[in-house]
Amino acid sequence: MTTEAEAHVHHPNYVKIWAILVALLLVSVLGSMSHVREVVLIAAFGIAIVKAYLVARNFMHVNVEKRWVPYLLIVCLLFIGILFAGVAPDIMNHVGQHWINPVVNQPAVSGAATKNE
């Protein structure tokens, strides 16, 4: 089996990728110091996605793996997306059609912050 394992990847310069990841990490931390909410969020999650992609591609070799492996992982994420879409209207909002969640402090704010399916 080891022979097949060899066959399936050629090893890039991992240290270089690691350096990029660390650089991105620094950027996201510095970005979080900003007081503009958008900047913070982009610095946080935009970069997180990039980092995840780099790790998956270069360390996990998803790109040279059999096609259906990335598809499998994407499908799992898709179902989580469906779960979110189906559940968020009830959990993320505190007011909906003919119901309200008065216990929560600011229903208006959080309710408006999201849209309904």
């Binding site: 059609q97 003919h98 119901w99 309200i100 969640n101 008065p102 216990v103």
Partner: protein, 246 residues
């Protein structure tokens, strides 16, 4: 069809019953058709009839028809049922007619309690009428109910009204009903709510405006209301446990 088993006492009870009959007709047809075909095939193609088995892959056009055509018909039936289901649902759960009266329904282990405006017609005033286990309503009057729960998930169900809505702690859910038949009907809790689930019964009394006014007068005495007022906090297990054990 449903009315043979249980009286229908609200305006939308019949729309549910009719949808039930529509679905029963459609699926009944398919059920009988499928069962008949299956048993016919079983008896027609018994080994003892001496016929050798045929080699059929199921790719043959002239045979595939027998799957694809019913398939399309099922799709049509589904669309019909969906339209019926959603229209009924929309009228009962989404579209709110203007309220003549409002009543607050509170579920707790293990009783339904109700609060409605007293003679002054305003909610949350001293003469409000609070009752436990029994709700008095006027016939041909559109009621909005504000449903809430003190402890666990309950479900406010009035079978005669074809009405059912879970009561969730932390939420106020609004619904409506319009009784159109005099009488006393059951209120159930249809969501498992603990030891006394089976004891969580109530009555809903649909009465004429005159009787209702008289009932209001009898019960609007604040002192009496005070007596019947409920504990603000969830009841401690022991008391209700004893109640459940009787």
């Amino acid at each position: 069809m449903l009315e043979r088993y249980l009286t229908a006492a609200s305006t939308y009870a019949h729309s549910i019953d009719h949808l039930f009959i529509l679905i029963a007709a459609i699926v009944g047809f398919w059920l009988i058709a499928a069962e008949t075909i299956m048993f016919t095939l079983v008896f027609k193609f018994r080994a003892k009839n001496g016929r050798p088995t045929q080699y059929i892959t199921g790719e043959e056009k002239h045979l595939k028809r027998w799957i694809t055509i019913p398939h399309a018909m099922v799709l049509v039936c589904d669309v019909v049922i969906i339209i019926g289901a959603i229209s009924v649902w929309y009228n009962i759960k989404q579209n709110m007619p203007v309220a003549d009266e409002t009543v607050r329904v509170i579920g707790q282990q293990w009783a339904w309690s109700f609060q409605q405006a007293g003679p002054d017609g305003v909610m949350d005033t001293p003469d409000d009428i609070r009752s436990v286990g029994e709700l008095h309503v006027k016939i041909n009057t559109t009621y909005h109910f504000e449903l809430m729960s003190r402890d666990v998930v309950h479900s406010f169900a009035v079978p005669a009204f074809r009405l059912k809505q879970d009561a969730l702690p932390g939420r106020t859910i609004t619904g409506w009903f319009r009784p159109n038949r005099l009488g006393t009907y059951d209120i159930q809790c249809t969501q498992m709510c603990g030891l006394g689930h089976a004891l969580m019964a109530g009555r809903i009394v649909v009465e004429t405006p005159q009787d209702h006014a008289a009932w209001l007068m009898r019960n609007s005495n604040p002192a009496a209301a005070g007596l019947q007022a409920l504990p603000a906090s969830p009841p401690d297990g022991t008391l209700t446990l004893a109640e459940a054990r009787r």
